[in-house]
Symmetry: C2
């Protein structure tokens, strides 16, 4: 049997099953953005790791080495943000093809360092080795969060509002510009490319949300809303209703989509790598949070639907201005697409 | 400028320099087997990560998937052992070529799990993705150790005895059997292959050593004695005298070397992946430790030389039965060798 038949998640399921005999002694592992390890009486440690492989996660000729360094760390910081934690340290493993220039690596280090500096994340170690061909990067980041405050995917409740912290689809739009070799016509194109290359991890936003009463489940949108929301729904054993007309879309994506005849809503719902936060919240708390959030971040929180009881845990019931529609949002699965 | 011109350590040096501005707030990072992070009042957390790339670190047709899974974890547990810590959790990232059978991965998981179970290490997360060609594995392991007890490379003192916890060169002998396509003639050959494929991380030995007064620097031998000892000497700013006649060599390596006309001493000094512990200890403490150790592990500790002051930090002065000899032990550098 080939891997493509069981997919990435099939493999992770096989893996998890094998390890059920080994006690985790209060630690929480596979199945969330980060693992959670009790640290001391006040804090929990959260840990995440991401593996980026050339030609699977990035194309060397479609990105600068600075952006690659920046993004390698950003995607991990985003997982830390999704737990409501503060990042404290990173570990960088890198397998380097021997034809790579030192100047290229200097650019990579610069991008990685600039984002480390912004969030005061110390680089505490890693591993460096030769690669036969493909540049391969593994980053592991640790963070800390007040005990019991880390947000998990399993905490959504029927009736909760589902909301996101920013417009969706910008990164997907940027990726389409790259892959379709579209020449950027104006600043909107540049904006989409910018978010694709240098997404901002929502560390401060995650900290705000996790401190607010009534917050349920939380995660970052890395594979695309349609795909990622299902993880929350499966872990929380419920369904969701999502209204496509409420999905926040930036003016830039609307503008470029109009020119390029793209379906902006479809990109916003299915494309990955936006790294906005997706969370559920008790409806009685939402207005107060939205107002505080708006004041602090000058950005609106966008409610896009709600959690509901249902017989098909993981199911998303799509609506358009309140009316049920047929829509199959398909996410990203490394073994099946690409 | 190409990477091969500056080597792996040149790159790590460039990397470390860039990060000197970012505060590590009491944490210790690059330059030891593990990073050290203060955890609570009683314990420090230690963290290590290793990246293994097909055709650089292993050949898919020269190892079983079970052994590959076992060894991917073992090399990291060995770094934890070198700090005198107990492992508590691991994170496994794996990039999988799509031609790989699920059965192969099941074997990998089985080997990884069996060693996890032996040392009660929970698998708390990781990342799974497709690889265009090469199987690539990154493992990150955390451990904990009593506060201030983690052994570092910089703690060797002139006058200290240098010792190792077991025979050297078995793994190197096993590798030669594989690479030279030698058909195993007897159990000695199998023993060398076994240690190459399934080295035992010296967790209990490391725990014993770190608890003993008078222990200075400690590390695991992964690149080879001649290469690894230099890290201790550079970090501790001293030289060493090592007597080749005192290097412990197993009967199995002696026997196979005699048959194959290998230089067993050279293999023992230069070949990597033995994962024995290398440490320095105050001479007044050594006898007592050696006797306790022998009783507990039924294995001798082997003193092989001593630390001395000198103008060339990192220099190893080789002797043979006390007489200076000319010997250039060359270690392993991923960018220059293979």
């Amino acid at each position: 049997m080939k891997l493509s038949e069981i997919g990435e998640f099939g493999f992770i399921e096989r893996l998890s099953k094998k390890f059920t005999d080994i006690s985790t002694s209060g630690k929480k592992g596979i199945g969330d953005d980060c693992a959670i390890l009790p640290m001391d009486e006040r804090y929990d440690l959260v840990v995440t790791t991401d593996l980026l492989v050339e030609d699977i996660h990035f194309l060397r000729n479609k990105t600068t080495s600075y952006d690659l360094g920046y993004k390698s760390l950003a995607v991990n910081l985003s997982d830390i943000a999704a737990m409501g934690a503060n990042p404290i340290a990173s570990f960088l493993s890198i397998a380097i093809p021997s034809d790579l220039d030192v100047e290229y690596l200097d650019g990579f280090i610069e991008g990685y360092k600039d984002l480390s500096q912004k969030y005061e994340v110390a680089l505490l170690g890693g591993d460096t080795t030769k690669s036969p061909e493909k540049l391969t990067i593994n980053v592991c980041v640790m963070g800390k969060v007040e005990k019991g405050k880390a947000r998990q995917r399993s905490s959504a409740q029927p009736g909760d509002i589902i909301a996101v912290t920013g417009p969706l689809g910008d990164s997907g739009g940027g990726l389409k510009i790259l892959l379709e070799n579209i020449h950027p016509r104006d600043a909107s194109y540049d904006q989409l490319l910018q978010w694709h290359h240098r997404p901002e991890p929502a560390i401060k936003e995650g900290r705000k949300l996790t401190s607010f009463p009534g917050i349920g489940a939380m995660m970052d949108i890395s594979d695309g809303l349609a795909s990622d929301l299902q993880y929350i729904l499966k872990a929380s054993k419920c369904e969701a209703v999502i209204d496509l007309s409420k999905i926040p879309i930036s003016d830039e994506l609307k503008h470029v989509s109009a020119e390029q005849k793209w379906n902006a809503v479809e990109i916003a719902v299915t494309a990955g790598e936006d790294y906005r936060l997706l969370f559920s919240i008790n409806p009685s708390s939402f207005e107060k949070l939205a107002s505080q959030y708006n004041q602090e971040f000058s950005l609106p929180l966008s409610p896009i639907g709600h959690i509901k009881k249902g017989d098909n845990p993981g199911k998303i019931n799509w609506t358009e201005k309140g009316k049920p529609i047929n829509f199959s949002g398909q996410g990203f699965n490394h073994f099946k697409h690409q």
